[in-house]
């Protein structure tokens, strides 16, 4: 039996390779994701190990507000310089250095734009001298208050050199400095993982990066001989007391790496999600291939049964084939995944400004994932065909059985059932009835819906394929192709369903994002009455900011009626972590956002007062006159009194504090500015004057309302594109499925093709016939996908109605493009099988057994 299996495998190399390819792509995605995150993870480990190599013990003040990795950058907390002396006095300390290091030093490059790092921190600090890690490459250390040194990577990115006068944005607006030195790191590195560093003299660093004089963010201590890092840590911790966090260099580097890895694992999960889609599509493809193989081998399998093979042996033989295909595909998929993972890691490393990559590693998870997924998927997909094979009676060997047209009742009932389960899960998940497992319920619902619809497709395929194909009815090869595609509804259905999954997901996500975009734009159009908006595009964890002085200057421009600057940060409000805003001009805010008061006075905001939205008031049980303790990123906790409550709007909600509170925000500068003009004044006339004011705030620009709304909504486009690219893989796999199905059909119908050629069908007509078959199948799949996707998308949009997505936008244009694309896909997929069909030797085909 084993030998028979191997022989039959070898005899069907090509079609097994095609279906194996689907597994290869899925496995590649899975193992690639693991390899990528593992490689980057270890690179970060070694990066931080280097960065903290010279730190035996580090002392930092406990943060006022602890933030998770995805909530924003942890703010460095300043502490008095005296602490350095305290540490220095501890027994066992050889040396203690006060260090200023904080994110948010943004250098303005020679092109007048801020040099961004796209993720890694932009550190500002005090120059504490050269070390084994840091070496000046050029120039000297900073001595005067207007002198800085910067790292080589930053100098290159900003195209600046020693002697240049450059602007730097910090906690304060632009200040100009002379670059007196450029430094690099051990190992000839220009940057550590793409981080930019600007080093000032200590007093300037304290003022600009920490906001106070005579404070530090860290004390770095080295141990005297014979004192271990841990001993030193404990001794220092005892000396500095409760308000500090004392860690060894090793702990520090592990913690820093762990923070980044949290982000990486999130990324990993996204990649695995797409792998799951690819594998779902692959499953359809494998199922189809094995079904066709079993159908074609009916006589052969029956013969085996006739000579004494048991049903179990037949199942075993089919499953064995599946295992072989799965194994081989997993090996190739793993290899491809390692390649892709390494390539992506390399690209990522480059993007992050030269992150030195630790060697590419293949973690156990990648290998286990690859083989587990590859084998399980393949065997599962082959199981149904195997069971069917076992039911072939021995008598079939003697009969000339054309594949009988089995009734679709069972499949249809099953499909309806599974679809119903999917719809129920979706209803529960989207309706918010599933509690903690909402996401899992929704995903399950989507999966069941796909499988259910796939099972229903054979039934749907008949009328739809007939209707689609009627386009070609005037043309004989077209008509033949259309009839062929309706010939085996199950096969057509599974092939089309594979394409459906990818297209449905793309369509669904497009519906959701387009609806969100349109809803947000619509709301903004309706509710923002500011004619001009100052804002910038965010390229890293920090939002872009501008000089608050611009707000007052803008107000002085003739024709400007109201100006409001908006600040924002995370804060603890009544012990709860929440996003708070601060407004320089609440009355302007109220007018420009069309806010209405439900209680108190929302047009004014004095020191110690706060405005909250009606939703926030309700959930926190607050009313006008309530006092709430608020802990901001800096400073001490302070009580605020609620003086006004406004009706929540989808665009504006939460807590608003007076502008003075923003001084204690981690970013104490306005993020957005709104300008309302006197009636009759044209925005275009005022815009250049505001633009001129922003000359020293290169992170932001001023735009009129429509352009601003467009800009904001446009941020979703990038996300949409990325998702589309990743889902394109699922579509590629589906195309393989179409090629596979067609190739098998051509093989199966060799005789028929020979007959057609014998009675006068030209080669080109033969190719036309196969192409029409492919186009009908793929357009059918795309049609299903567009319909299912639009349905799923609409369901999600409906569920998000309360979140402010009130407009359902069906992207007709996009959907049309998908259908057109499907037609092209069909033509492409048909190419090889069509050529093969056209080349069929007429005589050989007629004699074909």
């Amino acid at each position: 039996m084993f030998r028979a299996t191997v022989k039959s495998l070898l005899a069907r190399k090509v079609r097994l390779i095609l279906s194996g390819l689907a597994v290869v792509l899925g496995v590649m995605f899975v193992s690639g994701a693991f390899v990528l995150t593992d490689t980057l993870g270890r690179s970060f480990d070694s990066l931080f190990a280097d960065a903290y190599a010279e730190v035996d013990v580090n002392v930092a003040a406990k943060p006022k507000l602890e933030l998770g990795e995805l909530e924003g950058e942890q703010l460095a907390t300043p502490f008095p310089a005296a602490t350095v002396e305290t540490v220095r006095a501890v027994d066992g300390v050889a040396e203690a250095t006060g260090v200023v290091a904080a994110d948010g030093a943004r250098l303005i490059g020679s092109n007048g734009k801020v040099v961004t790092s796209f993720g890694p921190p932009q550190l500002g600090g005090n120059w504490t001298g050269e070390s084994d890690l840091v070496r000046l490459r050029e120039g000297r250390e900073p001595q005067a208050d207007d002198e800085i040194v910067i790292n080589k990577g930053l100098a290159d990115a900003g195209r600046v050199a020693v002697g240049d006068r450059v602007g730097v944005l910090t906690l304060q607006p632009r200040k100009d400095f002379t670059i007196v030195g450029i430094f690099g790191y051990s190992g000839d590195r220009d940057s550590l993982g793409g981080a930019n560093e600007v080093m000032f003299t200590t007093p300037v660093a304290q003022q600009l990066m920490l906001g106070e004089s005579d404070v530090f963010s860290n004390v770095v201590a080295t141990a005297a001989d014979g004192v271990s890092d841990e001993q030193l840590r404990d001794a220092v911790a005892a000396a500095v007391g409760d308000g500090y966090v004392v860690k060894t260099g090793e702990q520090l580097s592990a913690d820093a790496a762990a923070g980044l890895k949290e982000g990486l694992s999130f990324f990993n999960r996204i990649l695995l999600g797409f792998a799951a889609v690819a594998l779902l599509v692959g499953t359809f493809l494998i199922l189809n291939t094995f079904s066709i193989i079993v159908a074609q081998r009916t006589r052969e399998l029956a013969l085996l049964r006739a000579v004494g093979a048991s049903g179990k042996q037949i199942i075993g033989s089919v499953v064995l084939e599946a295992i072989a295909v799965g194994l081989i595909a997993s090996v190739f998929g793993l290899a491809a995944g390692i390649g892709i993972g390494a390539l992506l890691a390399y690209l990522f490393g480059n993007l992050a400004g030269g992150l030195a990559l630790a060697g590419v590693g293949v973690p156990a998870s990648a290998v286990i994932g690859a083989f587990g997924v590859g084998l399980v998927i393949t065997v599962l997909a082959a199981l149904l065909p195997a069971l069917r094979a076992a039911r072939i009676p021995p008598i079939a060997a003697m009969q000339d059985v054309a594949t009988p047209d089995r009734p679709l009742t069972k499949v249809t009932v099953g499909g309806a059932l599974v679809t119903a389960i999917g719809a129920t899960l979706l209803f529960l998940g989207l309706g918010g009835h599933a509690g903690d497992s909402t996401l899992a319920t929704i995903l399950g619902g989507v999966l069941f819906s796909f499988i259910g619809v796939a099972l229903l497709t054979p039934l749907i395929s008949r009328p739809v394929v007939a209707a689609l194909g009627s386009v070609f009815s005037g043309w004989v090869p077209g008509k033949l192709g259309r009839l062929n595609s309706g010939r085996n509804p199950r096969r057509t259905a599974i092939t089309a369903a594979a394409l459906m999954v990818g297209i449905a997901l793309v369509t669904g996500i497009t519906v959701i994002l387009d609806s969100a975009k349109s809803s947000i734009s619509g709301l903004a159009q309706d509710s923002i009455s500011a004619e001009l908006v100052i804002a910038g595009a965010q390229s890293g964890p920090r939002p872009p900011t501008f000089d608050p002085a611009v707000l007052d200057e803008a107000k002085a421009i003739p024709g400007v009626r109201l100006v409001d600057g908006e600040y924002g940060d995370m804060a603890l409000v009544g012990g709860e972590r929440t996003w708070v805003g601060a407004s320089s001009e609440p009355s302007a805010l109220v007018e420009m956002f069309g806010l209405t008061a439900t209680a108190g006075d929302i047009g004014r905001l004095g020191p110690g007062q706060m405005l909250i939205s009606s939703d926030a008031a309700e959930s926190r049980g607050l009313s006008v006159g309530s006092t709430v303790p608020v802990q901001l990123a800096r400073g001490d906790e302070r009580s605020y009194t609620v003086t006004g409550i406004y009706e929540s709007t989808p665009l504006f909600g939460g807590v608003t504090l007076p502008a003075e509170a923003a001084r204690d925000f981690s970013i104490p500068q306005p993020i957005q500015g709104y300008i309302q003009l006197e009636s009759g004044v044209r925005a275009a006339d005022v815009l250049p004057r505001v633009e001129a004011l922003l000359a020293d705030s290169p992170e932001v620009s001023v735009a009129d309302r429509d352009a601003f709304i467009e800009q904001q909504a446009g941020q979703l486009d990038g996300l949409l594109q990325m998702i589309q690219i990743l889902l394109a893989l699922a579509i590629v796999i589906a195309v393989l499925g179409i090629v596979n199905t067609l190739a098998l059909s051509v093989l199966e119908r060799t005789r028929e093709l020979g007959l057609l050629r014998a009675i006068g069908l030209r080669r080109s007509q033969t190719m036309g016939m196969i192409t029409v078959e492919a186009v009908v199948i793929s357009v059918f799949g795309a049609l299903l996908g567009v319909v299912v996707g639009a349905g799923l998308g609409a369901a999600v949009v409906e569920a998000l109605r309360d979140e402010g997505i009130t407009r359902l936008v069906l992207p007709w244009g996009q959907m049309g493009v998908f259908l057109g694309l499907a037609a092209i896909i069909g033509v492409v997929a048909a190419a090889l099988p069509a050529i093969r069909a056209a080349r069929i030797n007429v005589l050989g085909a007629i004699a074909h057994d």
């Binding site: 054309a402 004989v476 090869p477 033949l480 009839l483 062929n484 309706g486 010939r487 005789r751 028929e752 007959l755 057609l756 050629r757 014998a758 009675i759 006068g760 069908l761 030209r762 080669r763 007509q765 007429v842 005589l843 007629i846």
Partner: protein
């Protein structure tokens, strides 16, 4: 030996010194050794011979399904030898009809659609009167809307005959058309073929190994070992059988 009987200027198909060699060296097989034959218009010719005699090869070469190693084949005014795929396709459309032993019909099309398929492929309009004549001759009028799976073997073969006939080709090649049929259905099909020759002047060349089937023909050409060895005009099953028996004796072949 060459079949000379029926030499006529109006041959529907003609083979002149046709050689067909498969393979080379040790594995070389000579299927046809200089066969020359003419198949007159309006006659029903059977090609007979033991298995391996080359009768199917001869028919394939005549029909342009297979190329010849040497010699020429003509159908009507057209020289088949040397035609490319496009030329052969055109030939098959316009001048040749086929009836195979099995797999004659497309399962997706109805009987009527199958019959009209060569015309629709060629983009020609069927002659309604002729179509009616053909349908009535084969007796399929009440079966036209059926698909092949709903027809008996004999009916399927009659549909195939109608398909070959409806385009009025120069010549119809039939390859064991009754090979898969019971004797009653076979007789129906053969009667129909003979009638189409007698009543409508169709030219038919049929390969068969069945003496009874060959007896329906006007003329039987016998092949052995790649050569034409004998010929019968107005055969009966008995005379065919006798000739076949003689062919089985090697001494007779040598002549």
């Amino acid at each position: 030996m060459t079949a000379t009987t029926g030499q006529s200027a109006s041959a529907a198909a003609r083979a002149s010194d046709v050689w067909k060699v498969y393979g080379s060296g040790e594995a070389q097989v000579i299927a046809l050794r200089g066969v020359s034959a003419e198949f007159e218009r309006g006659r029903f010719t059977a090609i007979m011979g033991p298995s391996g005699s080359g009768k199917s090869t001869l028919m394939h070469c005549l029909a342009g399904l297979d190329s010849v190693t040497r010699g020429t084949v003509e159908i009507g005014e057209t020289t088949v030898t040397g035609l490319g795929d496009a030329g052969l396709t055109k030939l098959r459309r316009d001048k040749v009809g086929f009836i195979f032993q099995q797999f004659n019909l497309l399962p997706t099309l109805t009987a009527k659609e199958n019959i009209l398929l060569p015309l629709s492929i060629a983009g020609r309009k069927p002659d309604q009167a002729w179509f009616d004549v053909v349908i009535d001759t084969v007796g399929l009028r009440d079966r036209l809307g059926h698909r092949p799976a709903q027809l008996s073997g004999g009916q399927q073969q009659r549909v195939a005959c109608a398909r070959a006939l409806v385009a009025r080709p120069e010549v119809i090649f039939a390859d064991e058309p009754t090979g898969n049929l019971d004797s009653r259905s076979g007789a129906e099909v053969l009667n129909f073929l003979r009638n189409s020759v007698r009543q409508h002047g169709q030219t038919i060349v049929m390969v068969t190994h069945d003496p009874t089937a060959a007896a329906y023909a006007d003329r039987v050409v016998f092949l052995a070992d790649g050569q034409i060895v004998s010929e019968l005009i107005e055969p009966t099953a008995d005379t065919v059988l006798d000739t076949m028996k003689k062919l089985d004796t090697p001494a007779e072949v040598a002549g």
